[in-house]
Amino acid sequence: MITLQSSDKDVFEIEQSILIQSGTIKNMVEDDFTFIPLPSVDTETLIKIIEYMKKHADKTDSKEKNIKEFDKDFMKKTLNELFALVFAANYLHISSLLELLYPSIADRIKDKITEAIRQIFSIRCDFTPEEERRIIMDNKWAHEGTEIEGTLD
């Protein structure tokens, strides 16, 4: 059993066989670590990560369809949650989860106009008005459209 500690100082004891889906944890286990602090993963996110790894640990043929259903539901989260997962999965090197997260996040951007994307991500535009005008005029055709779904889910 391996002990993981979240940034909130909560601890979780999980079987090694489940945790080695994380390349990072696998390396530490090989170096004989049994207590692994994760200062960049909060409890809420860590719980989800563990839930994912538990489901994917048992990859027998009969469970394939089951796992696909789980993955689909697993992605039904807010953008904030998805990003917290992406940062954690990136740090923990869980490539199967990343491959699931990237397209899910991309789907949230797909139908949004530029300003809506900025709102969702709370990004301040750092172009000068002239620069921004140039960028838009270069490919005006792409900016035509009326979707204004700047929600945070």
């Binding site: 909130d8 951007i109 994307i117 709102q119 709370s122 535009c125 750092d126 960028i135 490919n139």
Partner: protein, 384 residues
Amino acid sequence: MAGRKRRKMKLLAATAPTAPTIPTAPNNGGASSEEREANEHNSLSRVPAELLEQILCRLNLKENVRASAVCKQWLAASISVRVANKPPWLMFFPKFGDMVEFYDPSVRQTYSVELPELRGSRLCYAKDGWLLLYKPRTLSVFFFNPYTRDVINLPALELTYQIVAFSEAPTSPDCLVFTVKHVSPTLVAISTCNPGATEWTTANYQNRLPFVSSIWNKLVFCNGLFYCLSLTGWLGVYDPEEQTWLVRVVPPPRCPENFFVKNWWKGKFMAEHNGDIYVIYTCSTANPVIYKLDQINKIWVEMQTLGGLTLFASFLSSQARTDILGVMRNSIYFSKVRFYGRRCISYSVDHDRYYPRKQCYDWGEQDPFESIWIDAPPDLSAFN
């Protein structure tokens, strides 16, 4: 330390009326600076470039362009993963000497290189980065890649008054060269050849509907078939696999009333894209009209819009592209560049006008052998 975090939260709130809840560590006395730093790092607005690229590479071109306007970091990430098509280049055949000019319409740049291999030859066709040329003096027919300067010879054939086409690059084993010659209104002589053959295969074929093959033929290879548009707009189709020739029961594209001026029938262009065939009719007194072949209903349909496609028209062969950046969408680019401003003459289907505004563009009067659209080179090494 805590003050720094509060300041950052305020900054985010200022940029958007609805600031997101960033996952934060509960400050139960003594949260380390490392954790605070990690949480600041984990905010939506500061995604590391590699992660951002992984997300953006899942977007199509239009979505990618929208994402690139978000901020400087997103611009860099979008561009690094962007997949857009390059337009073809316009190649100018030298009238005197060996200096060949290539024009890149996306940056309006011209490059030149001496190609003595072209001396004494005449352009026939271009496709997949290769040219087909003919030397009338020796009846020599050959493929030439103007960027690598590779030459692939074919057996000789007299091609004085014929239009020739080929299916794909001669480096492909399935490459076939095709030409059709008029014998009578119900009989044509079709010659085919593939690189490596020692001679051309010529055979006569009958057509039930009248068909007059001439130097005004337009040829494209599409879905395994050679399509030949005659002077009067009838479509003859050669199937190289079945070795059959027939004239399609598709009435020629309806020509607009005001098109019947001198030589109106000369200014025609044909291109194919993803299994669709496009024909452009031009006239000095009117705007161009584009038709697409509806194979199911056996009719030419006039296109009011090109759905993002760009057509590049030259007499001997024309090309089509989707997903080109910039303003080239839904336009026809003709094989002529204005000296001033180095701008290629184009027609916008969206705006119903030529750029620059029409003085009098009579595409039927152009020298058919002076220029041709050809795939862009992979790099500029040919021009150093």
